[in-house]
Subunit: 369 residues, 2 copies
């Protein structure tokens, strides 16, 4: 048979996002969406663009770039706007990583190795501590080669070109302190350090304040979680102008306009409503503490989270079983059938009502074990 | 100085889209936008999604996929949805092209070599005929090696993995007949043939009817031109299920959700309004004929166009000069300072009012030459 596909496309295994089921109504606690709607100002922002849809959007997204630069007190030349933070992470591989190997934790956002395979970048998976925390001291030149040697990866070692850290980490929810991030950057000044802060607004401390000091730091954020705009596909990166220019070169070699007019306007409006943002994220933090306490009472082990999800295991019921039973009961959570974490569930923090329903369902399931 | 950038990002030259000037009000005839707004139903479609923005969009875009499959009488498994047709063209390189060289005309959409450089795919530029038409007979195995040998490209010849043809071609506007497209496909059955039909709705004949017959044909279209939705970023591809699956694998290794909820809903609504579509595209075709006749009267050479733009030169005034003078007069057109076409202007077809203003300005400029 004649074959029209590349070797690459035949070999890669795409990322699989959390399921979006339509067979019945579910309480959706599986894709870390925000349970609250976005700021009401988002609609108003979108309305302003509805009569200009025949025209291409601003490829620079300057309206949004300006709002981000003001919010984070950086120059507009320090801001890159992308179609979700995933697109920015993808662009980082051809821009920064793929002349060498990229290092990231062995338990983290499972899209990282997928990006690496797409852009044919080798990667080095760095072991977490036993408590799932990241050991920043292990990210050193002395260690990379040693960890590579001990790993099952039999590819030849290459210089580490970059480090990719999710902070707070996913799916654990554990955050690194800013001083640890800074230590990591200082110990790796010849490498690009990308901090993926998708979940930073739920209790972590952003590394944006370090951008002026370190030219090798790129911070990536998203509107999907804390700004309740998963449906609008907007992310941004903050870093030295040289890094931002490189991202722009990749983007403009791929697609001149990756954000539509409505996404730019809607995200800008969301960013300007600081009061609403403060209110909803505090509600989520408060619900996280409530859910944590309830689950501890039910004999769960709950990893301390600074994200809008918690990562939990139970001493008597297997995570895979609980996942299935909750789905039968109309509650979707996330289960990763992978080494080290295959007895844990990741549960998105929902509303107080979601939380009560979840706890009630879990109680019933545990009673029947 | 420490360097955080890859060799690739330092070397590539991004695509430069037509200028979007904000210094004054222009008649914008430089980026092939539709002068008419999209169907009024688009807004209604968008309104239906405004209360769901906190939730991720459908990564499969099934609502839109279903509408496209009905409109073009193909299965849903034969449809891929992308963030503009540019994103689909970009994905085609890692999916189909980059195990070999991709062949495309030496005068065509100038994004093609940019995609090739991003994905490190070698390309072969096939000369047009002297009248700027594409010679489909030159796309044969006997010829590729010969043309490569005659070209300035001193890279080693590799097998041709795919062919990329814009139909109608840009910036010439000349369309190939369906029988010529079929001949091209038949002569290249071991290669992927991608027909970029961004401008097909203004008088060309789509190759979608050949998709069932030829497994190596992928047809790519956009909502940016004939559907007046440049600001919404939506494109689609139609082809054999194996080709669509490959595009999905690349997309899902890059970004699970490249279209937001509003783009999916808006584009679907536009596709369903067939009456509006027929009306506006006929107006553009009629305005193209009017403008062509007016410019011929003013001693322009107008290449016969089946697109929403015309490609013109004048016997007395240089294209670069006319471009500058029109800009000073508040009219933006597109000028490409490139060999073979540096004495031509590409002019987007606007409203009747745009057309009259343009002709008036050109008359004044010519009088003063």
């Amino acid at each position: 048979m004649i074959d029209y596909l590349t070797k690459l496309v035949k070999e890669i295994e795409p990322y699989v996002p959390g399921e979006q089921r339509a067979d019945r109504k579910y309480i959706k606690l599986n894709t870390n969406e925000n349970p609250f709607p976005p700021s009401p100002r988002v609609k108003e922002g979108i309305y302003t663009e509805l009569d200009r849809l025949r025209l291409y959007p601003d490829p620079e997204c300057n309206l949004l770039k300006s709002a981000v630069s003001k919010e984070y007190n950086v120059g507009m030349e320090n801001v890159f706007i992308g179609n979700g933070s995933d697109e920015i992470l993808a662009f980082a591989f051809p821009a920064f990583f793929n002349d060498g190997m990229v290092a990231f934790p062995n338990i983290t956002y499972s899209f990282y190795p997928v990006f690496a395979n797409l852009f044919q970048t080798k990667f080095l998976e760095m072991p977490l501590n036993d408590d799932f925390s990241i050991d920043v001291n292990s990210y050193s030149d002395e260690n990379y080669r040693r960890i590579h040697r001990k790993s099952e990866n039999k590819e030849e070692f290459q210089r580490i070109s970059g480090i990719l850290i999710s902070n707070p980490n996913a799916p654990t929810g554990i955050a690194l302190k800013l001083q640890d991030i800074e230590k990591l950057i200082q110990n790796n000044q010849d490498k690009l350090v990308l901090i993926d802060e998708a979940y930073i607004d739920f209790g972590g401390e952003t590394a944006v304040s370090l951008v002026k000091k370190y030219k090798n730091l790129l911070v990536v954020m998203t509107f999907s979680k804390s700004r309740s705009l998963a449906g609008l596909r907007v992310g941004f990166a903050i870093g030295d102008v040289e890094l931002i220019d490189a991202l722009n070169k990749i983007k403009n070699s791929f697609n001149s306009y990756t954000l539509d007019r409505l996404a730019i306007a809607g995200a800008t409006a969301a960013l300007l409503d600081k009061e609403y943002f403060a209110k909803t994220r505090h509600k989520i933090i408060s619900n996280r503490e409530k859910l944590t306490n309830e689950l501890i009472k039910l004999d769960f082990n709950v990893i301390p989270s600074q994200a809008n999800f918690i990562f939990v295991s139970h001493e008597r019921i297997k995570a895979g079983d609980l996942f299935q039973k909750l789905r039968e009961e109309g509650v979707l959570v996330r289960y990763f059938d992978k080494p080290l974490i295959d007895n844990y569930l990741r549960i998105t923090i929902g509303t107080v009502e979601d939380l009560h329903t979840l706890v009630q369902k879990i109680k019933e399931i545990i009673l029947n074990v």
